[in-house]
């Protein structure tokens, strides 16, 4: 009897798991960056004690000037509110042109998209610097800068939402003989109102945070006071300012979460 040898088909090769390659590439890149930036984490380690000592200077907030802080805070909130309003107005006007399915033609679509893109790409602090140079110090240039920068974000969000709307809704309204403006007014905006409100809240939230630091470039608000106190090493007052800013931002955070919960 001859032994029968059964030839088994070879097992398929174990699939290659690329995770390790990605991970090692990532680590190598990080090492290169640390090397290139000449970061020395040793100083950080040796300096831990110094850092704790430094932070302990903030432990006695001094609220003597609270009334002035509240006034500055009001200015900051006003800046954020006006900036957001400007952004909403500009975005509402631009978004239909930047939505592929509502734009009258391909050229307007491209132009509107690039315009929004450009507004988004310019950091708001840079815009604030430019507006301060043109308009002088004060919260007004800050509001303008916030408005221009966030209009880019808001316009993009709106346009993307308008593109996601079910095409049937647009067709139904077009079938009644609606003009392009009517199409936007009766099919576009009503379909995305919830989303749009959510985006507006997000933008307002973000603008309050940014308005708090716009003072650094002379655009008014509480940021300038913080900058000055830090420069003068008045840690007690800086701590009080940080507490005031923190409390405001957390309050607005909770408020917007609450409103968003109501919307859904």
């Amino acid at each position: 009897m001859t032994e029968q040898i059964i030839e088994r088909p070879a097992l398929p090769k174990r699939p290659f798991n690329p995770t390790s390659v990605w991970l090692s590439g990532w680590l190598a890149l990080i090492w290169l960056i640390i090397f290139d930036l000449e970061l020395s984490f040793e100083t950080l380690l040796y300096g831990v004690q110094d850092i704790f000592e430094y932070f302990s200077r903030y432990s006695r907030p001094n609220f003597e000037d609270l009334s002035r802080y509240v006034e500055l805070l009001g200015q900051t909130l006003a800046t954020a509110l006006w900036g957001s309003t400007l952004a909403i107005v500009v975005a509402v006007l631009l978004a239909p042109f930047a939505a592929r399915n509502l734009s009258p033609n391909a050229v307007t679509y491209r132009i509107a998209r690039e315009l929004l893109n450009f507004m988004r790409a310019m950091p708001d602090l840079l815009l604030a610097l430019i507006f301060v140079a043109a308009l002088g110090l004060g919260p007004l240039p800050g509001a303008l800068a916030l408005g221009v920068h966030t209009a880019g974000f808001l316009g993009k969000f709106f346009a993307e939402s308008l593109e996601r709307v079910d095409n049937g809704i647009y067709e139904a309204v077009t079938a009644t003989g609606a003009s392009r403006i009517q199409l936007v007014m009766y099919a576009g905006w009503p379909s995305i109102q919830r989303e749009a409100l959510g985006y507006m809240l997000y933008i307002f939230d973000r603008n309050v945070r940014m308005a708090a630091v716009l003072g650094l470039v002379g655009a008014g608000g509480i940021g300038l006071a913080l900058h000055d106190t830090l420069r003068m090493f008045n840690y007690d007052q800086s701590a009080a300012l940080i507490v005031v800013i923190l409390a405001t931002i957390l309050t607005i955070d909770y408020l917007s979460t609450w409103i968003r919960g109501k919307l859904n």
Binding site: I51, Q75, W82, P123, L126, L140, G223, L230, L246
Partner: protein, 265 residues
Amino acid sequence: MSNSKLCWPTPNGRPGLVPTLSLLACILLLVISAPALELDLGRIVTAIPRMLAFAGNLLVLPDWEYLPILAKNILQTIEMTFLATSIALVISLPLGILAAKNTSPHPAVFHATRNLLSLMRALPELVWALVFVSAVGLGPLPGIMALSFVTVGFMGKFFAESIEVVDQRQVEGVVAQGASWLQLRTFAHFPQAFPDFVGTVMYVLDHNLRAAAILGLVGAGGIGYDLVMAMRMFDYDRLLPIALSIYIVVTLLDRASDHFRMRMI
């Protein structure tokens, strides 16, 4: 029914009560806050010639000798962004697991982590950068620390939210294999939330790049310092290349992240 051509899309053709009231409240708020803003139309109108003059000043040939330094500083900005995002990613993954309702070991831990994360993201990067610059000195290190600190707050929250919406049946399937606490999180929750994680990381990278571009304002490294100095010194031949390069880098990352997100989801 009203016969007018343009009417509100409501049954009776009139605007609804709640939207009208909210709109009125908003307008009232705007009017009240106008004095605080020192709003003055005349000022804006008189500023237009100055804006035009400023724009005219920008139209000069760039300072060619400055371009290599510009490239170096832009590279530094990108490196800061990448490093800060990586550090934040490593820290916020475990925090995200602790801050998700369905993977947190205990409700107390869940609430504590959630509150910690919202405290971390409450203040903008620039405030932290100011503080860290005072603590560890000038350079990219305080910038990276500030960026990672704030980003952990954002990423941890986003991660937690995407972990909370995973499909419970797949988790039960892994439980039935006798998976331990950690194995459950690694093999049931993590793979499901992974596409969301990628989206979050891309968003945060984008956000950090924009933030890193201005951190130099307070001496925390990156291109921002050159930008402010060019503004202050009226070096218009440097200003335009700086602004242009920021625009290009931000746009490129924007496009890349759009492309990446489309592929992942």
